[in-house]
Amino acid sequence: MEHGNTEHKTHSHGYGIYVLVWLALIALTSITVTVAGVDFGKLALPIALFIAAVKSALVINYFMHIKFEDPIFKVFLLLSGVTLLVIFILTFFDVFYR
């Protein structure tokens, strides 16, 4: 009854890959907590943000399925990320040189 070319492509992965991603996320969480206990001085924030970014990439690519979606989704994602980045950079130009 329902047909058309806009329906789901076959992209079933089984449970295993998601459990692996979850394990990686838990591991990264323990790393970021452990690292926070060490005094890295000025590097502490970049390290924490880097780990958070890696975790985000895992969630977006696998749990949110972006890795397997049409390229237009990646373009959208990139566009929103760049927008946010531009807002941050422009604001910080103002804050730094005030």
Partner: protein, 207 residues
């Protein structure tokens, strides 16, 4: 004759691609909403680095870590609910969705105890105890309550959405070859998880 196009009558309009694209557009508005708050956080942390550290010491890192793991696990059960429905395992999918709600409720209970502890120490927005402190600390706790509060609000909305998804699965409105609603609900839930991935180190892990 005029009714010669009978084949069209059976066609149910369906556009999973469009539905998901629409969901992503909505998620971007959410990212901008929280992005604005992260921006305010960044500027004030840059201005008051030491006071932010001092104030952050009062947050319970153990509870924050526990909640992070709970939320990550709820994201896993959410995605497993989709795999289960793809494999036409309705009851398993319902079980995973119920687990997701369960983890979300655990998250909220922990949040309740965290906030209660802060309130009992006289720390809440506009409290006398808080207003007597220095600006950086007031800003830290202001951002803490607004950002984790708005996030917790999203968790509650997520629970309601997942409850509806369970009803749809139960009534066979979401089935193995038509589950875009489940995917979109999942996208929302993962976004809630994503925001927490950044909130956690920025509030709980400053030493």
């Amino acid at each position: 004759m005029s009714q010669s196009n009978g084949a069209v009558v059976n066609h149910v309009h369906r556009d999973d691609f469009g539905a998901k694209l629409g969901m992503w557009v909505f998620l971007f508005t959410e990212v901008l909403l929280f992005g604005g708050m992260f921006l305010v956080y960044a500027v004030y942390r840059f201005q008051f680095p030491d006071l932010f550290k001092l104030a952050a010491l009062e947050l319970n890192t153990g509870l924050g870590t526990f909640n992070t793991i709970v939320l990550l696990t709820s994201s896993l059960t959410m995605v497993l609910a989709i795999v289960a429905i793809q494999k036409n395992k309705k009851n398993l999918s319902l079980f995973y969705l119920a687990s997701t709600i369960g983890f979300a409720l655990v998250f909220m209970v922990v949040k309740y105890f965290e906030w209660s502890a802060k309130f009992s120490h006289g720390i809440y927005p506009g409290s006398e105890e808080l207003l007597n402190r220095q600006n950086g600390e007031i800003l830290f706790f202001g951002l803490y309550f607004v950002m984790t509060g708005l996030h917790a609000f999203h968790v509650i909305i997520g629970v309601i959405i997942i409850a509806f998804l369970m009803v749809f699965v139960y009534k066979n409105k979401i089935v193995h070859d038509n589950y875009v609603k489940l995917e979109n609900g999942g996208l929302y839930w993962h976004l809630v998880d994503l925001i927490w991935i950044f909130l956690f180190p920025l509030f709980y892990l400053i030493h």
